[in-house]
Each structure stands twice: as structure tokens, then as C-alpha cells.
């Protein structure tokens, strides 16, 4: 059939011409390279104070912290710029001794001036990180008596300075090059950042990837195992897994439901155990809980109506543990000595739920709105919301599912426009210092917008902690706050989520750690 042959040849010709025209970028990168695929980059920001806390997993490679930490969040003198730190007797003057001979990527020396500049910038107007607010209110002044010594003076006595400036929390503690920023300006710095971390910035194509290249012989990692580290944004799970199978990617974020499938094929899966607690709450009205949730029995009924085990096994494919205490960040429980006893766990008891509702005069049930949305790290968001509403429907609570996306939900929650409707969040687990910061935000009525509890007794305890410097007293106050929230059923804890990361078969050992928003890739790349 000469005609068909002719046409096919025509098309192939067309395609080859097209191919020549297309400037294909570099072929497969040369090994050894570390390529990581994540579902989203949130703000894709390269400037730590600009919402940097959400993207610590690549910022931590480019910048050093004032205070370093181990992967499981303990402060450590050999993880950061500060080799030693101690506070004055009245806990108002914190002195940090800096590591010598640390250079920025552009060759400038890192001195106390840079530390002072970075901390002031982290508290500045432009900063939108999680804990900038507290630094602004707490820090009185910063002195630099010597190139390798910095003294931070606080308005009130406090223990939190080293933690807040450490890798354990947010990105305020990252040290930035003063001379470079002052010469090129904030915007230019935000496009071509210079830090002192083990990896230098190469390239960022938003929506595609961020590429870093190794600094040879960095004090933290020695000779790095990987020449370049590329972090790619791959929104679709199926694509991430296909990339893993093709060997185009060494580490990838996967959903809990597909861990089994990937493990069967022999890919090692690393977990961040209890990376977050999935906690639900009722949006408060102008003056706290609104009916019918004002009645403690209704709150308890809604808690016992949920089968947390079945949710953990089905929606989260067994990669989750039922949680007992609302907002209960489990990593801090060890430090504050809170032991979760079996009787604290909410049982699955629909009969009791119906009885409680009847006692509260709501035998025929009532109706509520519940928001359904996805969240980074919670791809099962919508399915989870539908599942939980299913349980409440079974005990007579008619749920109207309102699909939104997170920003729209947060606006309704913060502005308290729809009191009584239900929202949820996967709150990142953290140490006791961070946990206190969380309680101070979500369980403390004076911090108006984000409160979800509004209980006078809890408020009292939390306000005392802020003024305390005695660890024992702090631990007791925090323990009692959690126990109060639990006994008054002031929220609905669901599960602790384990976050899986699948790796290529030849990746070697890697502990993704448990620090908020940080995956400790530098551990993976460490030459030590």
C-alpha cells in the first residue's frame, strides 16, 4: 500500500524535524546524585524568613542553624554554628560561643555580626515564619562582644531561646550572610540565596525542581556522598512511584495506602513515626463553644461514636495509631512525664454515644457542618472526612460535608464565621517547647483567632507556664492542661500518622528523623 507508507513516512519526518527543533536539556544526570520527589513545595521560598518553616527540608541543606539538633530533635553542639551556649542566673542573658572558620558559599567569613543580622531579620516586618512573633515580643537586644560570641538579652526570664533558634523548630535560627544581603538586597537574595550549609544553591524552576550542589569538605558533613541534590515537585502519586521504579528518583514521598504495594516490590520504606497527630475540633463562636457542643456529653458522644482502629486500618492502611488526647503531641509526653493509660483511649461505643445524646436531650440527633479538604501530608483528607461523617450519621448526627480547600477553611475558622462546624489538621509532632507553643496557640483563649478549646482552667495553667523557669513546675502544668482537655472532651483526637518515604534499593541507611518539616537529607549525604 504505497499511499499508507508514504503518509507514515511523512509523519515520522515531521516528528523528527520537531525533535531537532526541541532543545532537550541535559541527559540523565551523572551519578552519584540524590534525587528526591515530593508532592508539593508549599511556598517554594528560598529566603528563610519568608515562610521558610514549611520548606526546611531543602533550606536546612543550604543554611546552618545557630543551634543544631540530632535527627530526633535533641539540641546538639556539633549540629549548628554555636558550639556552646549558657544562660545567666536570671535566664535573661543567653551567651553563644560560635564555631571558628565557617565560611559562606561566597567566601565571606561567618561572624557574630551575621548572627545578630539574621536574628533581627527573622523578627523583621518581612518575616512570616511560625515563631517570628514570639522572638519579636521576647528579645530585648542582641550584643556581639566578639566575632565568635553573641549575647541575646530577653525582656523576661525564659528557657526557650536555644530551642526557638534551633533546627528543631522553625527557620528563625538560620544564619544568613549580612554583607551579601545588604549589598544585593532582599529580592536578589531570595532568588540566589547564599548560606553556609553543606550544599550550595544552583537552580530553581518553580513547579519543577530545586538543584543544589555540594560544598567540598563542609564542617558538618565532611566529603559529601552526593555531588548534587535535586528535589523535584511531582504532585501525582502514581508518577512518583513510576519515577521510583524507573530509578529516576532515590527518595519519594508516598501515601500510606500504597506502602504495601511498594514494599512487596522490595523498595525500602522509611517511616517518620507519629510525624503528626490528626486532631479535629469544633470552630468556636465569639464566646467559645456553641450549642449543642456546650454540653460535655455531646462532645463525649461524638468522640465515642468514631471507630479509631478501623479508620487507622482502612483509610490510613494500618500506618497510624489511635490517639487519646486532643492536640496531644506525643513526642513531648516523655519530657513532661505524661503517661497515656489505656482508659484514656476513647472506646468505639455507638450505643453509649446514642445514650449520651439522649441524656443531653438530643435523642433525635442534630445536624452539623463538617469541612472536607486535602492537606500536604494528608492526601486521604477528603476520604477521612467522609468516613468520620459516616460514623456520626450512624448515631443520628446528620453531617453536611462542605468541600473547601485549606485556606478557605482557615478563614472561616479564624474569623469564627461558621461556629460549631468541624475542621481538622495534621499537627506536626514536636518537643515539649514546641508543644507548649502549640497549646499557647490552639488551647489558649487570649490568642483569639486560633483557639479551639476556650476553657478558663486550661487558660490559667498555660499563662503560668509562660512565666515559669522551673522545668518541674512547667511539666506539671502542661500535664494537667492535657489531662483537663482530655477529661472535658475539648477536641476530637483521631490518630497519630506515620509518614512513609520510599527509597531506591541502593540508597543505604537513612533516618528521616522527627523534626518538624525537616527530612534530614544531610544525614543521607554525610561523608562522616
Amino acid at each position: 500500500m504505497t499511499r499508507a507508507k508514504r503518509i507514515v513516512r511523512g509523519c515520522l519526518l515531521f516528528l523528527t524535524v520537531l525533535a531537532l527543533v526541541m532543545p532537550g536539556t541535559a541527559g540523565a544526570q551523572a551519578k552519584p546524585d540524590l534525587t528526591i520527589a515530593l508532592s508539593s513545595f508549599a511556598t517554594e521560598s528560598l529566603d528563610p524568613p519568608v515562610a521558610g518553616h514549611l520548606v526546611k527540608y531543602y533550606l536546612s541543606l543550604m543554611f546552618d542553624y545557630l543551634v543544631g539538633t540530632t535527627p530526633d530533635g535533641q539540641l546538639s553542639p556539633n549540629g549548628g554554628i554555636a558550639t556552646k551556649w549558657e544562660s545567666s542566673a536570671d535566664h535573661k542573658r543567653w551567651t553563644f560561643t560560635l564555631r571558628k572558620g565557617v565560611k559562606f558559599h561566597n567566601g565571606d567569613d561567618l561572624t557574630s555580626e551575621d548572627v545578630k543580622f539574621s536574628l533581627e531579620r527573622a523578627g523583621g516586618k518581612r518575616s512570616t515564619t511560625g515563631y517570628a512573633g514570639i522572638l519579636r515580643t521576647l528579645v530585648a537586644s542582641i550584643e556581639t562582644p566578639a566575632p565568635d560570641r553573641v549575647v541575646i538579652v530577653t525582656k523576661d526570664p525564659t528557657l526557650i531561646i536555644p530551642n526557638y533558634l534551633s533546627r528543631a523548630l522553625s527557620s528563625e535560627g538560620m544564619i544568613l550572610p549580612k554583607k551579601y544581603i545588604e549589598s544585593v538586597g532582599d529580592d536578589a537574595f531570595a532568588r540566589k540565596p547564599v548560606g553556609s550549609g553543606p550544599y550550595k544553591f544552583v537552580e530553581q524552576i518553580t513547579g519543577s525542581h530545586i538543584r543544589l550542589t555540594a560544598v567540598d569538605n563542609h564542617w558538618r558533613l565532611g566529603a559529601p556522598k552526593y555531588k548534587t541534590v535535586t528535589i523535584r515537585v511531582v504532585p501525582e502519586e502514581t508518577t512518583r512511584i513510576a519515577l521510583l521504579r524507573r530509578g529516576e528518583v532515590d527518595v519519594t514521598e508516598i501515601s500510606r495506602e500504597r506502602v504495601g504495594e511498594v514494599e512487596k516490590e522490595g523498595y525500602p520504606v522509611h517511616f517518620r513515626k507519629e510525624e503528626a497527630i490528626l486532631s479535629m475540633w469544633w470552630i468556636l463562636g465569639p464566646d467559645g463553644m456553641v450549642a449543642p457542643m456546650k454540653d460535655k456529653r455531646v462532645r463525649e458522644a461524638m468522640n465515642v461514636a468514631i471507630d479509631r482502629n478501623e479508620i487507622a486500618q482502612s483509610i490510613f492502611a494500618g500506618r497510624a495509631e489511635p490517639a487519646a488526647i486532643p492536640l496531644g503531641l506525643s513526642w513531648s509526653f516523655k519530657e513532661i512525664g505524661l503517661k497515656v493509660t489505656p482508659d484514656m483511649m476513647y472506646p468505639y461505643d455507638p450505643a453509649r454515644a446514642k445514650k449520651l445524646l439522649a441524656d443531653a436531650g438530643l435523642a433525635s440527633g442534630f445536624s452539623l457542618d463538617a469541612y472536607a479538604y486535602q492537606l500536604p501530608g494528608l492526601p486521604e483528607g477528603k476520604a477521612f472526612a467522609e468516613a468520620v461523617s459516616g460514623y456520626w450519621e450512624k448515631v443520628g448526627i446528620k453531617i453536611k460535608l462542605i468541600p473547601v480547600d485549606y485556606p478557605a477553611f482557615r478563614k472561616n475558622w479564624v474569623d469564627r464565621k461558621t461556629p460549631g462546624s468541624i475542621g481538622y489538621f495534621n499537627i506536626a509532632n514536636r518537643d515539649w517547647m514546641g508543644t507548649f507553643a502549640l497549646l499557647e496557640k490552639m488551647a489558649y483563649s487570649p490568642s483569639k483567632p486560633n483557639d479551639t478549646v476556650n476553657d478558663a482552667e486550661v487558660d490559667g495553667m498555660i499563662s503560668q507556664v509562660a512565666k515559669q523557669t522551673d522545668r518541674e513546675k512547667i511539666n506539671t502544668l502542661m500535664r494537667n492542661s492535657f489531662l483537663r482537655i482530655r477529661s472535658e472532651h475539648l477536641g476530637m483526637p483521631i490518630v497519630y500518622l506515620h509518614s512513609p518515604y520510599a527509597a531506591s534499593k541502593k540508597l543505604g541507611k537513612w533516618n528521616p528523623g522527627s523534626v518538624m518539616y525537616d527530612l534530614f537529607f544531610d544525614e543521607l549525604a554525610s561523608g562522616k
Binding site: E237, E257, R258, E310, S314, S389, G390, I402, P403, D405
Partner: protein
């Protein structure tokens, strides 16, 4: 010059029977697509009777149950269960109602508005035509998906949002095609005739122009219903389609997309349903166009 008469059967050529069959095939009704469309409409209407279980009734214990013909399948759930243990067969049956409604309502709105604009632009011509056509072009250049996303983010995704978002863009296609046709009709004498007989604009448009565009409208209508169902599915993928828990084919495929190989039926079966229905509508539209109005060129 052969004088004697030449009788027809003098030459022994065989009398070849022209294959009438091949000629006939082009004309007969497209039984396949008509069948699928009627089945789809019937299932949508009789959903409450046909559906074996409540589409929203979930039981997390037996989620991802395979269809009955696969091992591990149960007769209770002929087509298996989805991620939340809901019965797939019921959800597909109820989903047909939502998808049909979305398709038909959107296309009717778009047709009504688009045809009106097309008729007016075609009939009056001149400045009116230029202005309306510029508006049409501007709307056509506004991407459907972006508008739907903006609506979904502003007032939250809902059935009405999907219908509004698609209809607001789709009418432009109808307007453009109808206007083109009205322009050709205007050139014909019977319009001049009607004017001479004293018919006003309204009478001419409704009595003479509109009936003549019916053929085109019917064809466009059928072709676009398929398009709407597909766009709704893409919107669900982006979280801007018809929201859970309403069972709609688009969102069912979107929700099941992670389990394409592990639990293929969760997104496979609604995908097959969409494929069959949209294929049927498209083929029906093609057949209608070939029989009613072969000259039609539309987007």
C-alpha cells in the same frame, strides 16, 4: 455504420449485481450509540429502583472488595466496593443521574443563550454582530478550567458551580456556529420574502431562522454533552468538580486514580461508563450531522 439493430443481449457480459448492502450500511441508525444513550437515560431515571444499595452507605471493613467475577468478590457487591467500602454498582447507577443532569442542563443553558446570541448577531449584523462576536471570542479565550477553579475556590465546589463554569464558556461555541448559519440563511430569498410580507424581527427570528438552525443545534447538543461530562471529570481531578459525597462518575474516577493497578475497578468501572456514554454521544452526534446537515463544520 452498422445498419441492423443491435439487441442488448448480443454481448455475453455477466450482469453484475451491485452490492446494495454496502450502500445500505451508511444509512441505518447507529444502533450501538442509540442503545447506549437510551440505556444511560433509563438508568439515570430509574436509579432509585435499580440501585441495589444506598450509594452513600459505607463500611470501612470491606473496602476495595473486587467485583464478583474476581476471586474475593461477593455477590452482595456485584461490581465490588470503593475506598470507603461503598457499593460500586449503586454509585455508578446514581452517578449516571448526576452526570446526565450535569451534561444536559449545562448544554441546554449554553444552547439557549448561545443560540439567542447567534441569532441576534446573525440577523442584525453590522455593529451588533461585531460587538457580540468580540464578546464571544473573548469568552472563548477564557479557559473553562480556570473559571471553574476560581468559582470552586470562591464559593466552594458544587454542582451548580460546575454547570455555571462550563455553560458560561460553552455558549460561545453555539453562538459562533449559529451565527455562521444565520448569515447564510439571511442571504437566501425566503428571508427577504418574509420581510416584504411585513414580518417583524422577532417573527422572522422565531418563525424562519430558528427552525432552520434546529438541525445544527441538535447535532451540537449531542456532541457537547459528551464534552461536558469529560470536563466535569477533569474538574473533579482538580478538586473543583461535583464534590463528595454526591456520586458522580468524574469524582469517582478522580478518587480511585491512585489504585489504577491495585484496585482497578474503583476508577476503571466509572471510566468505562464515561467512555461508553461519551463515545455513544459523540458517534450519535456524528451520525446526526452526517444525515441532518453534512455541510456542518463546528468545533
Amino acid at each position: 455504420m452498422p445498419a441492423e439493430p443491435v439487441t442488448p443481449d448480443a454481448l455475453p457480459l455477466p450482469d453484475v449485481q451491485v452490492s446494495a448492502a454496502r450502500e445500505a450500511r451508511g444509512r441505518r441508525l447507529p444502533y450501538f450509540s442509540l442503545g447506549i444513550v437510551t440505556l444511560f437515560v433509563l438508568v439515570a431515571i430509574l436509579a432509585p429502583l435499580l440501585s441495589p444499595a444506598d450509594p452513600a452507605d459505607q463500611s470501612l471493613r470491606n473496602r476495595f472488595k473486587p467485583p464478583v467475577w474476581m476471586e474475593g468478590g461477593t455477590a452482595k457487591h456485584l461490581l465490588g466496593t470503593d475506598r470507603l467500602g461503598r457499593d460500586m454498582l449503586s454509585r455508578i447507577i446514581w452517578g449516571s443521574r448526576v452526570s446526565l443532569a450535569a451534561g444536559v442542563i449545562t448544554v441546554l443553558i449554553a444552547t439557549a443563550f448561545g443560540a439567542a446570541m447567534g441569532l441576534v448577531a446573525g440577523y442584525y449584523g453590522g455593529r451588533v454582530d461585531v460587538v457580540l462576536m468580540r464578546v464571544t471570542d473573548a469568552t472563548m479565550s477564557f479557559p473553562v478550567i480556570l473559571l471553574a477553579l476560581i468559582l470552586a475556590v470562591t464559593v466552594g465546589p458544587s454542582f451548580t458551580n460546575v454547570v455555571v463554569a462550563i455553560a458560561v464558556i460553552l455558549w460561545a461555541r453555539f453562538a459562533r456556529v449559529i451565527r455562521g448559519q444565520v448569515l447564510t440563511l439571511m442571504g437566501l430569498d425566503f428571508i427577504a420574502q418574509a420581510r416584504i410580507a411585513g414580518a417583524g424581527a422577532w417573527r422572522i427570528i422565531t418563525r424562519h431562522l430558528f427552525p432552520n438552525t434546529l438541525n445544527t443545534l441538535v447535532v451540537l447538543l449531542t456532541l457537547q454533552i459528551g464534552y461536558v461530562i469529560i470536563v466535569e471529570a477533569s474538574l473533579s481531578f482538580l478538586g473543583a468538580g461535583i464534590p463528595p459525597p454526591t456520586p458522580a462518575w468524574g469524582s469517582m474516577i478522580a478518587e480511585g486514580r491512585e489504585f489504577v493497578t491495585s484496585a482497578w475497578w474503583v476508577s476503571g468501572l466509572p471510566g468505562l461508563a464515561i467512555l461508553l456514554v461519551v463515545l455513544a454521544f459523540n458517534l450519535l452526534g456524528d451520525w446526526l450531522r452526517d444525515t441532518l446537515d453534512p455541510k456542518l463544520r463546528q468545533l
